[in-house]
Subunit: 155 residues, 4 copies
């Protein structure tokens, strides 16, 4: 069992932003998104990021690969509510041979107000095939590096 010590996460390269609205079915009886459901929102943003990179997650699955979550951490700064207009942002923290760390950040972007960061998370993935860690697809990491080298993103 381990404990987090708060240190700034180094993000390398730009953030990719994906806009959406908070669905009703993600919200719990406290009127905010259930803490485990923020990972749905992160997933929506990550999927959009991979697609924009030109390597949709569907290509992983076509080769029998999965990006399994090995560990994660999440900070809930402010609650998200039903129908909030948000941007789920994704950036790269670290590319390993068989692992990948991504940062996700959610910003509420209401009309006529300054965006505010509501949620921050880091997910550490391992690339697996039939349960065994294997190298990340080369074409995928090439595209990731290309993204990290752009100033504001090529899209």
């Amino acid at each position: 069992m381990t404990r987090s010590k708060e240190e700034p996460v180094e993000v390398r390269g730009p953030w990719y932003a994906h806009g959406l609205r908070v669905p009703l079915f993600e919200v719990d009886l406290g009127q905010g998104v259930y803490h485990g459901n923020y990972f749905h929102l992160f997933e929506m943003g990550r999927e959009a990021f991979f697609r924009a990179l030109g390597y949709p997650y569907r290509l992983f699955m076509a080769e029998g690969l999965h990006l399994t979550v090995g560990s994660l951490q999440c900070r809930y700064v402010k609650s998200l509510h039903y129908d909030d207009l948000i941007e789920v942002q994704t950036a790269v923290c670290r590319i390993g041979r068989r692992s990948l760390s991504l940062a996700h950040r959610i910003q509420r972007v209401g009309s006529g107000q300054r965006p505010e960061t509501t949620t921050e998370g880091v997910l550490h993935f391992v690339c697996v095939q039939s349960g065994t860690p294997v190298p990340l697809p080369e074409r995928f990491t090439e595209k990731l590096r290309l993204w990290m080298d752009t100033e504001d993103g090529p899209f």
Copy 2:
């Protein structure tokens, strides 16, 4: 944005164990529990713990209080699969005036095999009323401290 540095989590007092089976609806297309759904399992264990303490979460809600998750971290050591027999264990890390940190640990407990730890998490809660942090109920923290002072738990 912050990053975790792995350090042992200090747990104070015994672990409370709640047994259950992994429901089918928690499992995703990779045949393991979806990473955001482990928080459902933690919740089941936590609810059972509060009930066993004699302070079910229902009492919080009756006073208009919520334990909101401020941050969390989770380590997925091994995947959980459909119908796995597990123990969701809960222990206290830290009691603040308006906050509480709990550790959760899931062990797979198959018949005739040694229990293995599959998942570890720490959740940091803030006690809120109408969105504002307020002190934890005294009767609740008394019961928590009583639990922490027992050797193997009073149950």
Copy 3:
């Protein structure tokens, strides 16, 4: 307890179509969307329909109103899979004073193939305020009727 006898559902007016991709987190271990999660997809389509009408569901909630599901039925003709490109279509079956019946239909719309209907459902809603049935907002039913009178939809 009641049982369905299969009769054609009469839909009045055009269908409203909302395009999306099936998220990974909706898919279960059988590689198809979990039967209870199709209601998330219906909800996405219904929300888009209400928004396009000019009466987003947020307006109901602002007046303390909810559209509660009184009953539903659903037919799963073909499974939906991860990342399928779909259209969630919504049409009006019946407008009551305090109730509303909507039909939802999902079509898979792959590139270069004919759309195929995968799922059909009917949801019967009751408009409630503090748990008591109340009339639907007049401005909402006006917009619904306007929609039903259009040939292909005004959007």
Copy 4:
């Protein structure tokens, strides 16, 4: 698209009852269980029923079989709330060669009050292997018929 006409569902044999409490994560912002999540509760009851029969669903999966939902209907008589003590009841409607219809009924069973039926549903399953309908396992249907012939259930 079809529409239900309300007719009494014929249930053959006794109801199997499985007790549980409504988890917090199933409840939405309207303070009741989200309509698509009642199928989680039905599943918990159905799994317990199959296990009690002596043919847990795990045996289906061990043979590469799935019980896929072909259609369903559900009536929400009263809302279920967080922590409600309930019984999810399951009974057999019809056994086909490759299909099975089950009824589910949820009763709220508070202390010192008469049980009240809150939810009723019927699910029509098809037994499939690699996507193709196949006969139900014989040992399973035998156990089902044995159950249906008992007066109050053998358990």
